[in-house]
């Protein structure tokens, strides 16, 4: 990673005093993650440039890193040794500590004076694109020049990277420039290489003094600085704005797309309420929620004494662990806890533990399976477990036309393998019913559009 700082305020070589690094030679500092070098490509009274080059020890850095399942080599081959990141911030605080604090042994007056400065950051990753760079540095008084780097000039088809070469020009105290870079580089990158705990709030507020509270993007800065950790963010914003409580900022995450799309409809709640009602009407007392996720339905049903046994089954051990933490059976009243069981299992394997139940629910599950696995699901749920009642909900693809943010032909969630029209769902459900000796009826869930139906469709199978 590389940061250059240039001044033309004469005598420019005084930059060496401000940084406490003699422009006459090259300086090296050992850091825990590599070596930082400071050198001066030019040092004349008219113009002086200091460069901070951080040489990351990539091989030493990866020991004991957690493994990323989808990209196992990502820990070893990545842009971290080169891109501007929180490593750069740490290097600034270690190497330019006094300047960052606004102190200078020889030139305190100059340190307190705005001077003309140009800073260049190379390969700065920006989550959210070029606009975010402007939105973050612009309000601080800099002229911002941004050049987005292509992923690979040999393959123009791959498009642009999220890396930018950024030049900031302005007149300000050196300490201000360094502070802004120190705080905002990790914000743009939206990562920090170290654990973010409670003390990070203090650091952020100290470095943000005098500018952060008034910054129009302060929520974004706080949120990303604190790694999206809700309670930290609320604490920091409260202190920053001197308020008691602050609403958490809306997460606009790409992977929460389905929820975001459907949130206005509070569809999930409606689904759960509908399933709950149908189970009650049918007098089901023992119920399994296949694909229980974090256990919302399980929790809801467990609070009603009408249900004697509620099984939450999920195929993901991690999800099930989250469900366990959320439901926290150890802290439930014993009467409720004994009704609830969380099981690791799969809807496409026969499972003796699911035999002899009154009802099985598959709420927004089937669309997460490849279509050619549905015969196995049918055999396992309708053929082998054979409860009196099976409830299946799935998106109604007809309704997708109503979602303005959803491009035509795209699914509501990246993991959906299919989304069925009402006709397609009915064809499948009626086939299952015939083959397996059930009768099926259909109900919409959510606001019904005359032509397109409801956003969610449900099949209720009974025998």
């Amino acid at each position: 990673m590389l940061l250059t700082i240039t001044t033309t305020t004469a005598p420019a070589t005084d930059l060496g005093y401000l940084l406490a690094k003699n422009p006459g030679r090259t300086h090296s500092f050992e850091l825990t993650f590599g070596t930082a070098h400071v050198f001066y490509p030019e040092a004349t009274p008219e113009r002086c440039t200091a460069a901070l080059l951080v040489d990351i020890d990539a091989v030493g850095l990866v020991r004991g890193r957690p493994r990323n399942e989808d990209a196992p080599l990502a820990a070893y081959v990545n842009d971290r040794p080169y891109a501007a990141s929180s490593f750069l911030s740490v290097a600034i605080s270690r190497v330019f500590g006094t300047a960052l604090g606004g102190r200078s042994r020889e030139r305190q007056e100059l340190a307190d004076t705005p001077i003309s400065l140009v800073a260049t950051l190379h390969a700065l990753p920006c989550r959210g694109g070029t606009g975010v760079v402007h939105r973050l540095f612009g309000p601080l008084g800099y002229t911002v020049e941004v050049e987005q780097l292509p992923l690979d000039p040999a393959f123009p088809g791959w498009g642009a990277s999220r890396l930018h070469d950024v030049t900031l020009t302005g007149t300000c105290r050196l300490a201000d420039l360094l502070t802004h870079i120190y705080v905002l580089v990790p914000v743009l990158d939206d990562q920090k290489h170290y654990w973010v705990g409670d003390d990070e709030i203090g650091k952020l507020l100290a470095h943000g003094e005098g500018w952060l509270a008034a910054h129009p993007e302060r929520e974004l800065i706080v949120e990303r600085s604190l790694k999206h950790r809700g309670h930290l963010i609320r604490g920091a914003l409260a202190q920053l704005l001197d308020e008691d409580a602050v609403e958490p900022p809306d997460e606009v995450e790409a992977d929460a797309g389905e929820d975001a799309l459907e949130r206005g409809l509070s569809l999930n709640n409606q689904r759960l309420a509908t399933v709950h009602r149908i189970l009650s009407e049918a007098g089901a007392m023992t119920v399994a929620d296949l694909g229980c996720g974090e256990g919302k339905l399980v929790g809801r049903l467990s609070r009603s004494s009408k249900f004697q046994r509620v099984l939450g089954v999920d195929v993901s051990v991690r999800t099930l662990e989250r469900a366990r933490q959320r439901l926290n059976p150890e802290r439930m009243p014993a009467k409720i806890a004994e009704r609830v069981t969380l099981l690791h299992g799969s809807a496409i394997y026969r499972d003796a533990r699911l035999a002899d139940l009154d009802a099985i629910c598959l709420v927004e599950v089937i669309e997460h399976l490849d279509e050619d696995r549905l015969p196995a699901l049918e055999a396992a749920v309708f053929g082998a477990a054979r409860p009196r009642l099976v409830i299946v909900t799935t998106p109604n693809a007809d309704y997708n036309a109503r979602f303005e943010n959803l491009p035509t032909g795209r699914f509501r969630h990246a993991d959906h393998r299919f989304e069925w029209s009402r006709e397609e769902f009915a064809a499948w459900a009626e086939g299952v019913a015939t083959r397996q000796g059930y009768t099926v009826r259909f109900e919409p869930i959510g606001p019904v559009d005359e032509a397109l139906g409801a956003p969610t469709q449900m099949g209720v199978f009974s025998r």
Binding site: D79, Y82, V317, G345
Partner: protein, 845 residues
Amino acid sequence: MNLQIPELSVVLLVGASSSGKSSFARKHFLPTEVLSSDTCRALVSDDEHDMSATSDGFDLLHHLAGIRLKRGRLTVIDATNVKREDRKVLIDLARSQDCLVSVIVFDLPEGVLLARHRARTDRDFGAHVVRNQLSSLRRDRRGIRREGVHRVWFLDSEEAVDAVTIERVPLWNNRREEHGPFDIIGDIHGCYDEMVELLDRLAYVRTGSDEAPSAHHPEGRKALFLGDLVDRGPRSPDVLRLVMGMVAQGTALCVPGNHDVKLVRKLHGREVKITHGLAETLAQLEGESDAFRARIAEFVDGLVSHLILDDGKLVVAHAGLKEAFQGRGSARVRQFCLYGETTGETDDYGLPVRYDWAREYRGRAKVVYGHTPVPEAEWVNRTICIDTGCVFGGTLTALRYPEEELVSVDAARVYYEPARPLRPPDARAGSDLLDLDDVSGRRHVETRLGRAVTVDLEHAAAALEVMSRFAVDPHWLVYLPPTMSPSETAPKDSPLLEHPREALSYFRKAGVAQVVVEEKHMGSRAVLVVCRDPAVGPRRFGVVKPGLGVVTSRTGRPFFRESELQHALLDRVRQGFEDSGLWEELGTDWVVLDAEIMPWSAKALELLRLQYAPTGAAGMSVLTRAAALLEQAAARDPSAAELSAATRERLAAVEQYREAYRRYCWEVSGLDELRLAPFHLLASEGRVHTDRDHTWHMETLARLASTGDPLFVATQYRVATLGDEESEAQVIAWWEELTSAGGEGVVVKPLGWLARDRKGLVQPALKCRGAEYLRIIYGPEYLLPRNLERLRSRGLSRKRSLAIRELALGLEALHRFVEGEPLYRVHECVFGVLALESEPVDPRL
């Protein structure tokens, strides 16, 4: 006295304290066969005389007995058992496991007991206890026979006890010593003509007179009749006569069917409903003699409801038999054999719905049965129903065992209208449904490479998610490839991390004479199942929808997101096999191939965009600028010279890194830009080709490229003789040539696939990657001395152990598939490979 005890039974020793039961048990049974109430009491309380622990002690005893019986072990209960209610608990337990109960009663004179009691120092209770026990025993003594036990013996004196010999006798159903070969024949129902035609077809020679007919097979084969000889059809008496003749002569075996049993109940004068074709049989029997009718009754009464044959590898019963009941004897077992089980529901025709036990069958023995007419005999989980409804106008079917060939003759006509239509074929869909128990928990999978592979619980749990959510339909997933270790790390004086010297040396030391060295293509690993036509999928692989096969990644996921692209590729491969004549030559209509699909960017574009390209872009931007600035600095500041030189070196490394990955990328818009390099022809009908050396695989697969279809790339290879310096030097030179031209490297394999040294299997393959390629794996700057030095310390043993275990499982899966084993047996192995893949191992290896 010689006591004949069934080999699988509960032996209850009954007698007051000091009767000598424990000594008797020690003398006649294995210590592990004897469960003693004293011992169990001691196990739960540390004191075998602690009467307060009696109840818990018995709980333990019952628990242990239950487990032993479930596992089919004879179990002796050494407790006083003098009270009826104490015996009842144990008799019920035996019954719940469908085991017989033998009782040995020690009813010694009171004087003997009391003298013994006085002589013992380890009993702290009074003589009255012994007297009370004795009186309890004597009170119920005569009723023991009626308590539902198989045999009771009374031993009334010390001499009688001493004179006992124990003989363990097999159960009637145990005919393990009968090895056949057999011709197993389904429900005949009085269809005499078809039966005779079938016997002729099977080359039986008929002998005897019209009154006493028989038949035998010149090669000593035995016919095995599955019961339901009578009712509905035109000539039940003739069928009976011939079967009885053959059984009497020892040329046939027979199990009873429900119709046979019902007929005999009628013959015994019992009240039965004259339905389901019994009327026809009774009418036909009117012309027969009383003696013949009596012989029928005697014959059927003497039949055993099921037979365990051929060392336990074959089980026959009229209505089939689930595993837990095999080799057991109880009324419940007999019921199952005759009628099967019902679910308690009725179908649209008002007939009881049968419990489809075969879907859940996981036993080792093959079960052949009849009873329920099916349109076609099909294997389901090692079971097969061969009642093909002859009397309803279907066919009469025989299964030749062990050949497993089906031989059928058509019915001359419909003799009887079925009450409901024969089950349509698609009703069997889902009959091979996998069970969670097939894959979950800690598992030991037996493999024919001579080692059982253990799969840990947590890894199986991880694999369940991948298998359920991301893998292709398990029907297609008959193989997953093993991971591959690199060669040993090159020594310190080498400027490289990997070099073929080490791979050659590994195999040389393992005693391998020749290796094949294959060019390693830099693409993405793929396993292809290719069918000659779409109908092969449902027929051979059991998938629901017809299809040409599947292309999967090395973790069983679909290789292509677009199924159209997969189909197009498979179609070209299918055509390649057609054009090269390989379908005919191999005598198959499907193959499994190991291959590499190029370019890498086709599959890895996401990784390139998120990981590889940004690394290069960031490195180039930063280091280009830094190098320029340092040059400027060095011009006026000599102290910058060193950093300047080092930075130029780093810049060069990033440039080379970028070049390295660029070689494996090209734009792909469809099939035209894809290249397929198959390197193993793993299996085809009837054969797993790991018994052919790699030259065969290379040459055979090269014929696909020779068809002129540009999709196929023939893999370059060399064969090296180990220990021959010139031969080794040639392949090393070839490696240098390949890798300096940007190639990924080579894979070195024992020429004959599998090789063993004294420690067991040798690695099936080692990869030797080129220095430039490894930048993609270890990072752009890995070759800088300060990095390389640290990277050399890498441990390969875990990776190599995984490679061997995964190989054993993967090949086992293929063998099982080729042998026609049920889906769950194949899936167990493939699932195991996937589970092992979740073991943490350095991904750079």
